[in-house]
Protein backbone atom coordinates (compact mmCIF):
# COMPACT_ATOMS: atom_id res chain seq x y z
CA UNK A 1 0.00 0.00 0.00
CA UNK A 2 2.00 2.95 -1.26
CA UNK A 3 -0.65 5.64 -1.14
CA UNK A 4 1.87 8.44 -1.39
CA UNK A 5 3.36 6.96 -4.55
CA UNK A 6 -0.06 6.47 -6.11
CA UNK A 7 -0.99 10.01 -5.19
CA UNK A 8 2.18 11.33 -6.80
CA UNK A 9 1.58 9.44 -10.01
CA UNK A 10 -2.08 10.56 -10.06
CA UNK A 11 -0.97 14.16 -9.64
CA UNK A 12 1.63 13.71 -12.38
CA UNK A 13 -0.93 12.23 -14.79
CA UNK A 14 -3.30 15.06 -13.95
CA UNK A 15 -0.77 17.78 -14.73
CA UNK A 16 0.32 16.00 -17.91
CA UNK A 17 -3.33 15.79 -19.03
CA UNK A 18 -3.96 19.46 -18.31
CA UNK A 19 -0.69 20.43 -20.02
CA UNK A 20 -1.55 18.39 -23.11
CA UNK A 21 -5.09 19.72 -23.39
CA UNK A 22 -4.19 23.37 -22.82
CA UNK A 23 -1.15 23.01 -25.10
CA UNK A 24 -3.24 21.46 -27.85
CA UNK A 25 -5.86 24.19 -27.54
CA UNK A 26 -3.17 26.88 -27.81
CA UNK A 27 -1.56 25.11 -30.77
CA UNK A 28 -4.91 24.92 -32.59
CA UNK A 29 -5.50 28.58 -31.80
CA UNK A 30 -2.21 29.61 -33.39
CA UNK A 31 -2.74 27.30 -36.37
CA UNK A 32 -6.26 28.64 -36.95
CA UNK A 33 -5.10 32.24 -36.78
CA UNK A 34 -2.48 31.47 -39.43
CA UNK A 35 -5.15 29.58 -41.44
CA UNK A 36 -2.87 26.56 -41.52
CA UNK A 37 -5.43 23.85 -40.84
CA UNK A 38 -8.55 25.10 -42.59
CA UNK A 39 -8.71 21.89 -44.66
CA UNK A 40 -8.67 19.67 -41.57
CA UNK A 41 -11.33 21.79 -39.86
CA UNK A 42 -13.50 21.63 -42.97
CA UNK A 43 -13.12 17.84 -42.92
CA UNK A 44 -14.73 17.79 -39.46
CA UNK A 45 -17.15 20.62 -40.19
CA UNK A 46 -18.72 19.20 -43.37
CA UNK A 47 -20.40 16.04 -41.98
CA UNK A 48 -21.66 17.93 -38.93
CA UNK A 49 -22.97 20.70 -41.19
CA UNK A 50 -24.90 18.05 -43.16
CA UNK A 51 -26.52 16.88 -39.91
CA UNK A 52 -27.29 20.50 -39.01
CA UNK A 53 -28.88 20.99 -42.43
CA UNK A 54 -31.17 18.01 -41.86
CA UNK A 55 -32.04 19.12 -38.32
CA UNK A 56 -32.63 22.75 -39.32
CA UNK A 57 -35.05 21.64 -42.06
CA UNK A 58 -37.13 19.66 -39.59
CA UNK A 59 -36.92 22.38 -36.95
CA UNK A 60 -38.08 25.05 -39.42
CA UNK A 61 -41.01 22.89 -40.49
CA UNK A 62 -41.95 22.27 -36.87
CA UNK A 63 -41.54 25.93 -35.93
CA UNK A 64 -43.67 27.01 -38.90
CA UNK A 65 -46.31 24.45 -37.99
CA UNK A 66 -46.41 25.80 -34.45
CA UNK A 67 -46.58 29.38 -35.65
CA UNK A 68 -49.40 28.84 -38.18
CA UNK A 69 -52.51 26.67 -38.54
CA UNK A 70 -51.62 23.22 -37.25
CA UNK A 71 -53.88 21.08 -39.32
CA UNK A 72 -53.73 22.60 -42.80
CA UNK A 73 -50.60 21.91 -44.77
CA UNK A 74 -51.99 23.86 -47.71
CA UNK A 75 -52.56 26.90 -45.54
CA UNK A 76 -48.93 26.70 -44.46
CA UNK A 77 -47.76 26.69 -48.08
CA UNK A 78 -50.03 29.61 -48.93
CA UNK A 79 -48.82 31.57 -45.94
CA UNK A 80 -45.24 31.02 -46.99
CA UNK A 81 -46.06 32.14 -50.55
CA UNK A 82 -47.86 35.23 -49.26
CA UNK A 83 -45.00 36.01 -46.93
CA UNK A 84 -42.51 35.85 -49.78
CA UNK A 85 -44.81 37.93 -51.97
CA UNK A 86 -45.17 40.45 -49.16
CA UNK A 87 -41.40 40.63 -48.76
CA UNK A 88 -40.97 41.16 -52.49
CA UNK A 89 -43.62 43.89 -52.56
CA UNK A 90 -42.05 45.64 -49.58
CA UNK A 91 -38.72 45.59 -51.30
CA UNK A 92 -40.24 46.86 -54.52
CA UNK A 93 -41.92 49.64 -52.56
CA UNK A 94 -38.62 50.62 -50.98
CA UNK A 95 -36.96 50.51 -54.38
CA UNK A 96 -39.69 52.77 -55.79
CA UNK A 97 -39.28 55.27 -52.97
CA UNK A 98 -35.59 55.22 -53.61
CA UNK A 99 -36.16 55.93 -57.31
CA UNK A 100 -38.36 58.88 -56.44
CA UNK A 101 -35.64 60.43 -54.32
CA UNK A 102 -32.93 59.78 -56.85
CA UNK A 103 -34.82 60.99 -59.86
CA UNK A 104 -32.69 64.07 -60.44
CA UNK A 105 -29.44 62.18 -60.40
CA UNK A 106 -30.75 59.20 -62.29
CA UNK A 107 -31.78 61.49 -65.15
CA UNK A 108 -28.13 61.71 -66.14
CA UNK A 109 -27.55 58.01 -65.75
CA UNK A 110 -30.91 56.87 -66.98
CA UNK A 111 -29.62 54.26 -69.38
CA UNK A 112 -27.20 52.94 -66.83
CA UNK A 113 -29.50 52.43 -63.89
CA UNK A 114 -31.74 49.41 -63.60
CA UNK A 115 -33.91 48.49 -60.71
CA UNK A 116 -32.84 44.88 -60.97
CA UNK A 117 -29.07 44.89 -61.37
CA UNK A 118 -27.66 42.00 -63.34
CA UNK A 119 -26.31 40.19 -60.32
CA UNK A 120 -26.18 36.39 -60.18
CA UNK A 121 -27.52 34.93 -56.96
CA UNK A 122 -27.32 31.52 -55.30
CA UNK A 123 -30.18 30.63 -52.95
CA UNK A 124 -28.97 29.10 -49.68
CA UNK A 125 -30.74 27.81 -46.58
CA UNK A 126 -29.69 28.89 -43.11
CA UNK A 127 -28.70 25.73 -41.26
CA UNK A 128 -27.16 26.99 -38.02
CA UNK A 129 -26.26 30.05 -35.97
CA UNK A 130 -23.00 31.04 -34.33
CA UNK A 131 -22.22 29.10 -31.15
CA UNK A 132 -20.58 32.13 -29.62
CA UNK A 133 -22.56 34.79 -27.80
CA UNK A 134 -19.97 37.36 -28.93
CA UNK A 135 -20.42 37.03 -32.65
CA UNK A 136 -23.36 37.26 -35.01
CA UNK A 137 -22.98 34.80 -37.86
CA UNK A 138 -24.97 32.19 -39.75
CA UNK A 139 -24.02 28.95 -41.41
CA UNK A 140 -25.57 28.31 -44.82
CA UNK A 141 -25.77 25.13 -46.86
CA UNK A 142 -23.83 26.37 -49.89
CA UNK A 143 -20.06 26.29 -50.20
CA UNK A 144 -17.17 26.34 -52.63
CA UNK A 145 -18.74 23.57 -54.75
CA UNK A 146 -21.73 25.87 -55.33
CA UNK A 147 -19.50 28.79 -56.30
CA UNK A 148 -19.65 30.49 -52.91
CA UNK A 149 -16.32 31.91 -51.77
CA UNK A 150 -15.05 34.27 -49.06
CA UNK A 151 -15.96 37.93 -49.55
CA UNK A 152 -19.21 37.46 -51.46
CA UNK A 153 -22.08 39.70 -50.32
CA UNK A 154 -25.20 38.02 -48.91
CA UNK A 155 -28.73 39.45 -49.06
CA UNK A 156 -32.28 38.33 -48.44
CA UNK A 157 -35.55 39.38 -50.01
CA UNK A 158 -35.69 42.18 -47.42
CA UNK A 159 -32.17 43.55 -47.79
CA UNK A 160 -28.49 43.12 -47.01
CA UNK A 161 -27.57 40.29 -44.63
CA UNK A 162 -23.75 40.28 -44.50
CA UNK A 163 -20.70 38.83 -46.15
CA UNK A 164 -19.19 35.35 -46.58
CA UNK A 165 -16.52 35.05 -43.89
CA UNK A 166 -15.45 31.44 -44.25
CA UNK A 167 -16.25 28.83 -46.85
CA UNK A 168 -15.80 25.07 -47.02
CA UNK A 169 -16.86 22.67 -49.76
CA UNK A 170 -20.54 22.39 -48.81
CA UNK A 171 -21.19 25.10 -46.24
CA UNK A 172 -20.22 28.70 -45.53
CA UNK A 173 -20.26 31.09 -42.63
CA UNK A 174 -21.92 34.49 -43.09
CA UNK A 175 -20.76 37.39 -40.93
CA UNK A 176 -23.94 39.37 -40.20
CA UNK A 177 -24.31 43.14 -40.43
CA UNK A 178 -25.13 43.18 -36.71
CA UNK A 179 -21.80 41.64 -35.72
CA UNK A 180 -19.36 43.84 -33.82
CA UNK A 181 -16.68 43.46 -36.46
CA UNK A 182 -18.99 44.33 -39.35
CA UNK A 183 -18.85 47.69 -41.09
CA UNK A 184 -20.62 48.70 -44.28
CA UNK A 185 -20.33 51.87 -46.33
CA UNK A 186 -23.88 53.21 -46.48
CA UNK A 187 -25.85 56.21 -47.64
CA UNK A 188 -29.25 57.70 -46.95
CA UNK A 189 -31.97 57.30 -49.55
CA UNK A 190 -33.32 60.84 -49.34
CA UNK A 191 -30.35 63.11 -48.77
CA UNK A 192 -27.74 60.73 -50.26
CA UNK A 193 -25.43 61.55 -47.36
CA UNK A 194 -22.89 58.80 -46.74
CA UNK A 195 -21.70 57.15 -43.54
CA UNK A 196 -20.42 53.90 -42.12
CA UNK A 197 -22.76 51.34 -40.58
CA UNK A 198 -21.42 49.37 -37.66
CA UNK A 199 -22.87 46.37 -35.85
CA UNK A 200 -22.78 45.60 -32.15
CA UNK A 201 -24.37 47.23 -29.19
CA UNK A 202 -27.61 46.30 -27.53
CA UNK A 203 -30.41 44.70 -29.48
CA UNK A 204 -30.19 44.09 -33.18
CA UNK A 205 -29.84 47.69 -34.31
CA UNK A 206 -26.99 49.21 -36.30
CA UNK A 207 -25.12 52.47 -35.76
CA UNK A 208 -24.57 54.74 -38.76
CA UNK A 209 -21.62 56.97 -38.03
CA UNK A 210 -19.67 59.69 -39.86
CA UNK A 211 -22.70 61.48 -41.32
CA UNK A 212 -21.87 65.14 -41.93
CA UNK A 213 -23.73 67.67 -39.77
CA UNK A 214 -25.07 69.44 -42.86
CA UNK A 215 -26.91 66.35 -44.08
CA UNK A 216 -30.61 66.28 -43.13
CA UNK A 217 -31.30 63.00 -41.34
CA UNK A 218 -34.85 62.17 -40.36
CA UNK A 219 -36.44 59.20 -38.66
CA UNK A 220 -37.78 56.78 -41.24
CA UNK A 221 -35.08 57.53 -43.85
CA UNK A 222 -34.11 54.53 -45.94
CA UNK A 223 -30.48 53.37 -45.63
CA UNK A 224 -28.77 51.61 -48.53
CA UNK A 225 -25.32 50.36 -49.40
CA UNK A 226 -23.27 53.10 -51.01
CA UNK A 227 -20.88 50.82 -52.88
CA UNK A 228 -17.93 52.80 -51.47
CA UNK A 229 -15.06 50.57 -50.41
CA UNK A 230 -15.93 47.99 -53.04
CA UNK A 231 -17.10 45.29 -50.61
CA UNK A 232 -20.81 45.43 -51.47
CA UNK A 233 -22.78 46.40 -54.57
CA UNK A 234 -24.49 49.78 -54.31
CA UNK A 235 -28.19 50.33 -53.58
CA UNK A 236 -29.01 47.22 -51.56
CA UNK A 237 -31.53 48.22 -48.85
CA UNK A 238 -30.22 47.86 -45.30
CA UNK A 239 -32.89 49.37 -43.06
CA UNK A 240 -34.51 52.54 -41.77
CA UNK A 241 -33.41 55.21 -39.34
CA UNK A 242 -35.17 55.02 -35.98
CA UNK A 243 -33.15 57.57 -34.01
CA UNK A 244 -30.76 60.44 -34.72
CA UNK A 245 -27.96 61.50 -32.38
CA UNK A 246 -26.84 65.00 -33.25
CA UNK A 247 -24.64 67.32 -31.24
CA UNK A 248 -23.40 70.73 -32.37
CA UNK A 249 -20.16 70.03 -30.51
CA UNK A 250 -19.49 66.97 -32.63
CA UNK A 251 -18.08 66.98 -36.13
CA UNK A 252 -20.44 64.28 -37.35
CA UNK A 253 -23.88 63.01 -36.50
CA UNK A 254 -24.91 59.44 -35.82
CA UNK A 255 -28.10 57.52 -36.49
CA UNK A 256 -29.54 54.27 -35.17
CA UNK A 257 -30.72 52.01 -37.96
CA UNK A 258 -33.27 49.23 -37.68
CA UNK A 259 -32.22 46.55 -40.19
CA UNK A 260 -34.82 45.54 -42.78
CA UNK A 261 -33.85 41.90 -42.26
CA UNK A 262 -35.10 39.97 -39.25
CA UNK A 263 -31.89 38.08 -38.51
CA UNK A 264 -33.49 35.89 -35.85
CA UNK A 265 -35.98 34.32 -38.23
CA UNK A 266 -33.92 34.19 -41.39
CA UNK A 267 -34.36 30.88 -43.19
CA UNK A 268 -32.99 31.55 -46.68
CA UNK A 269 -30.53 34.01 -48.16
CA UNK A 270 -29.09 34.91 -51.56
CA UNK A 271 -25.35 34.93 -52.12
CA UNK A 272 -24.32 37.35 -54.88
CA UNK A 273 -21.78 35.36 -56.84
CA UNK A 274 -20.77 37.61 -59.71
CA UNK A 275 -19.84 40.71 -57.74
CA UNK A 276 -16.09 41.19 -57.62
CA UNK A 277 -15.02 43.01 -54.47
CA UNK A 278 -12.46 45.71 -55.18
CA UNK A 279 -9.03 44.92 -53.74
CA UNK A 280 -8.21 47.92 -51.57
CA UNK A 281 -5.28 46.36 -49.72
CA UNK A 282 -2.88 48.48 -51.79
CA UNK A 283 -4.13 51.50 -49.84
CA UNK A 284 -3.24 49.80 -46.55
CA UNK A 285 0.46 50.19 -47.32
CA UNK A 286 2.12 53.38 -46.25
CA UNK A 287 3.78 55.51 -48.93
CA UNK A 288 7.36 54.42 -49.53
CA UNK A 289 6.79 50.84 -48.34
Amino acid sequence: MNLGGNNDSTQRIRWITFGLLFGLALLLLVMDLTRGVEGAFAFIRNPIAALMDWTAGRTDAYADALAGPRDLQLAGVQIEQLRQENDMLRRELEALREVQAENQILREYFDYVSLNPTLDRVLASVIARDTSPSFRSLIIDKGILDGVVVGMPVESTRGLVGIIYRSSSRSSQVLLLTDNTSSVAARLGESRATGVLQGGGLGSTLLMDWITLEAPVTIGDLVLTSGLGGKYPADIPIGRIIDVQRSEAALFQQAIVQPAVDFNNLEAVFVITNFDPVDTTIFDELPGQ
Binding site: L21, L33, I48, R129, F135, Q173
Partner: protein, 166 residues
Amino acid sequence: MGLSLYLALPVMVILLIIQTSVLPRFPLWGVVPQLMLLAAVAWGLLEGLEEGALWGFVAGILSDLFSITPVGLSALAFMSAVIVVALLYRTLPINRFVLPVILSLVATLIWLFVYLLLLRLMGFSSSWQQISDLPRLLLVHGGLVLPFYWFFYGLLKALRPRPIEV
Protein backbone atom coordinates in the same frame (compact mmCIF):
# COMPACT_ATOMS: atom_id res chain seq x y z
CA MET B 1 -10.32 8.12 -20.20
CA GLY B 2 -10.55 6.28 -23.53
CA LEU B 3 -14.21 5.39 -23.07
CA SER B 4 -14.96 8.91 -21.90
CA LEU B 5 -13.67 10.36 -25.18
CA TYR B 6 -15.84 8.01 -27.22
CA LEU B 7 -18.81 9.12 -25.16
CA ALA B 8 -17.89 12.82 -25.22
CA LEU B 9 -17.76 13.07 -29.01
CA PRO B 10 -21.28 11.89 -29.89
CA VAL B 11 -22.82 13.64 -26.88
CA MET B 12 -21.15 16.93 -27.79
CA VAL B 13 -22.04 16.64 -31.50
CA ILE B 14 -25.70 16.08 -30.60
CA LEU B 15 -25.66 19.03 -28.19
CA LEU B 16 -23.89 21.20 -30.79
CA ILE B 17 -26.61 20.48 -33.36
CA ILE B 18 -29.36 21.21 -30.85
CA GLN B 19 -27.63 24.40 -29.75
CA THR B 20 -27.04 25.75 -33.25
CA SER B 21 -29.98 24.42 -35.29
CA VAL B 22 -32.88 23.94 -32.88
CA LEU B 23 -32.57 26.29 -29.91
CA PRO B 24 -32.11 29.49 -31.99
CA ARG B 25 -35.68 28.86 -33.26
CA PHE B 26 -36.93 28.02 -29.75
CA PRO B 27 -34.80 30.11 -27.36
CA LEU B 28 -35.30 29.50 -23.65
CA TRP B 29 -36.41 32.75 -22.04
CA GLY B 30 -34.85 34.64 -24.93
CA VAL B 31 -31.39 33.09 -24.64
CA VAL B 32 -29.62 30.12 -26.20
CA PRO B 33 -27.93 28.15 -23.42
CA GLN B 34 -24.41 26.76 -23.75
CA LEU B 35 -25.46 23.12 -23.60
CA MET B 36 -21.95 21.81 -24.21
CA LEU B 37 -20.57 23.80 -21.28
CA LEU B 38 -23.30 22.41 -19.02
CA ALA B 39 -22.55 18.86 -20.15
CA ALA B 40 -18.83 19.31 -19.50
CA VAL B 41 -19.55 20.81 -16.07
CA ALA B 42 -21.90 17.97 -15.12
CA TRP B 43 -19.40 15.35 -16.31
CA GLY B 44 -16.55 17.11 -14.50
CA LEU B 45 -18.49 17.17 -11.22
CA LEU B 46 -19.22 13.45 -11.48
CA GLU B 47 -15.96 12.17 -12.90
CA GLY B 48 -13.34 14.62 -11.71
CA LEU B 49 -10.85 17.12 -13.05
CA GLU B 50 -9.20 15.27 -15.94
CA GLU B 51 -12.44 13.94 -17.35
CA GLY B 52 -14.07 17.37 -17.03
CA ALA B 53 -11.13 19.03 -18.74
CA LEU B 54 -11.29 16.51 -21.61
CA TRP B 55 -15.02 17.11 -22.10
CA GLY B 56 -14.46 20.87 -21.91
CA PHE B 57 -11.76 20.55 -24.56
CA VAL B 58 -13.99 18.56 -26.95
CA ALA B 59 -16.90 20.97 -26.33
CA GLY B 60 -14.74 24.02 -26.95
CA ILE B 61 -13.19 22.75 -30.18
CA LEU B 62 -16.57 21.73 -31.62
CA SER B 63 -18.07 25.03 -30.54
CA ASP B 64 -15.32 27.04 -32.24
CA LEU B 65 -15.61 25.08 -35.48
CA PHE B 66 -19.04 26.63 -35.94
CA SER B 67 -18.23 30.11 -34.77
CA ILE B 68 -16.19 33.11 -35.90
CA THR B 69 -14.11 32.52 -32.76
CA PRO B 70 -10.59 31.19 -33.47
CA VAL B 71 -10.52 27.42 -32.92
CA GLY B 72 -9.16 26.62 -29.45
CA LEU B 73 -10.32 29.78 -27.68
CA SER B 74 -13.56 28.34 -26.35
CA ALA B 75 -11.71 25.16 -25.39
CA LEU B 76 -9.46 27.22 -23.09
CA ALA B 77 -12.47 29.01 -21.59
CA PHE B 78 -14.52 25.82 -21.16
CA MET B 79 -11.61 23.90 -19.59
CA SER B 80 -10.84 26.75 -17.17
CA ALA B 81 -14.46 26.87 -16.02
CA VAL B 82 -14.82 23.11 -15.64
CA ILE B 83 -11.51 22.65 -13.79
CA VAL B 84 -12.31 25.40 -11.27
CA VAL B 85 -15.79 24.08 -10.47
CA ALA B 86 -14.59 20.45 -10.33
CA LEU B 87 -11.93 21.54 -7.84
CA LEU B 88 -14.52 23.41 -5.78
CA TYR B 89 -16.85 20.41 -5.87
CA ARG B 90 -14.17 18.18 -4.31
CA THR B 91 -13.70 20.53 -1.38
CA LEU B 92 -17.41 20.86 -0.57
CA PRO B 93 -19.72 18.31 1.06
CA ILE B 94 -21.50 16.14 -1.48
CA ASN B 95 -24.87 17.48 -2.51
CA ARG B 96 -26.52 16.32 -5.71
CA PHE B 97 -29.15 19.07 -5.99
CA VAL B 98 -28.06 22.51 -4.85
CA LEU B 99 -24.32 22.26 -5.46
CA PRO B 100 -24.49 21.43 -9.21
CA VAL B 101 -26.83 24.40 -9.72
CA ILE B 102 -24.56 26.83 -7.86
CA LEU B 103 -21.44 25.49 -9.55
CA SER B 104 -23.04 25.75 -12.99
CA LEU B 105 -23.56 29.46 -12.32
CA VAL B 106 -19.93 29.80 -11.20
CA ALA B 107 -18.81 27.92 -14.34
CA THR B 108 -20.89 30.22 -16.56
CA LEU B 109 -19.32 33.32 -15.01
CA ILE B 110 -15.78 31.91 -15.29
CA TRP B 111 -16.35 30.77 -18.88
CA LEU B 112 -17.67 34.19 -19.93
CA PHE B 113 -14.90 36.06 -18.12
CA VAL B 114 -12.09 33.95 -19.60
CA TYR B 115 -13.75 33.94 -23.01
CA LEU B 116 -14.15 37.75 -23.15
CA LEU B 117 -10.67 38.26 -21.74
CA LEU B 118 -9.09 36.02 -24.39
CA LEU B 119 -11.14 37.69 -27.13
CA ARG B 120 -9.90 41.09 -25.91
CA LEU B 121 -6.29 39.89 -25.77
CA MET B 122 -6.58 38.64 -29.34
CA GLY B 123 -7.92 41.96 -30.55
CA PHE B 124 -11.59 41.05 -31.00
CA SER B 125 -14.23 43.45 -29.76
CA SER B 126 -17.10 41.94 -27.81
CA SER B 127 -20.78 42.76 -27.76
CA TRP B 128 -22.65 44.15 -24.74
CA GLN B 129 -25.59 41.97 -25.69
CA GLN B 130 -24.19 38.98 -23.79
CA ILE B 131 -23.71 41.03 -20.62
CA SER B 132 -27.33 42.14 -20.72
CA ASP B 133 -28.38 38.52 -21.35
CA LEU B 134 -26.21 37.19 -18.51
CA PRO B 135 -28.84 37.14 -15.71
CA ARG B 136 -31.26 35.17 -17.90
CA LEU B 137 -28.45 32.89 -19.13
CA LEU B 138 -27.48 32.14 -15.50
CA LEU B 139 -31.05 31.24 -14.61
CA VAL B 140 -31.44 29.01 -17.66
CA HIS B 141 -28.09 27.30 -16.98
CA GLY B 142 -29.03 26.80 -13.34
CA GLY B 143 -32.25 25.15 -14.41
CA LEU B 144 -30.70 22.98 -17.10
CA VAL B 145 -27.66 21.61 -15.29
CA LEU B 146 -29.60 19.19 -13.12
CA PRO B 147 -31.07 17.17 -16.02
CA PHE B 148 -27.54 16.82 -17.41
CA TYR B 149 -26.10 15.92 -14.04
CA TRP B 150 -28.74 13.28 -13.27
CA PHE B 151 -28.65 11.85 -16.77
CA PHE B 152 -24.89 11.32 -16.58
CA TYR B 153 -25.20 10.02 -13.03
CA GLY B 154 -27.69 7.39 -14.19
CA LEU B 155 -25.62 6.60 -17.27
CA LEU B 156 -22.46 6.03 -15.22
CA LYS B 157 -24.36 3.85 -12.77
CA ALA B 158 -25.70 1.74 -15.63
CA LEU B 159 -22.36 1.47 -17.42
CA ARG B 160 -20.22 0.55 -14.43
CA PRO B 161 -20.36 -3.02 -13.12
CA ARG B 162 -21.68 -3.31 -9.59
CA PRO B 163 -19.42 -4.87 -6.94
CA ILE B 164 -20.36 -8.47 -6.19
CA GLU B 165 -20.55 -9.59 -2.60
CA VAL B 166 -19.28 -13.10 -2.04
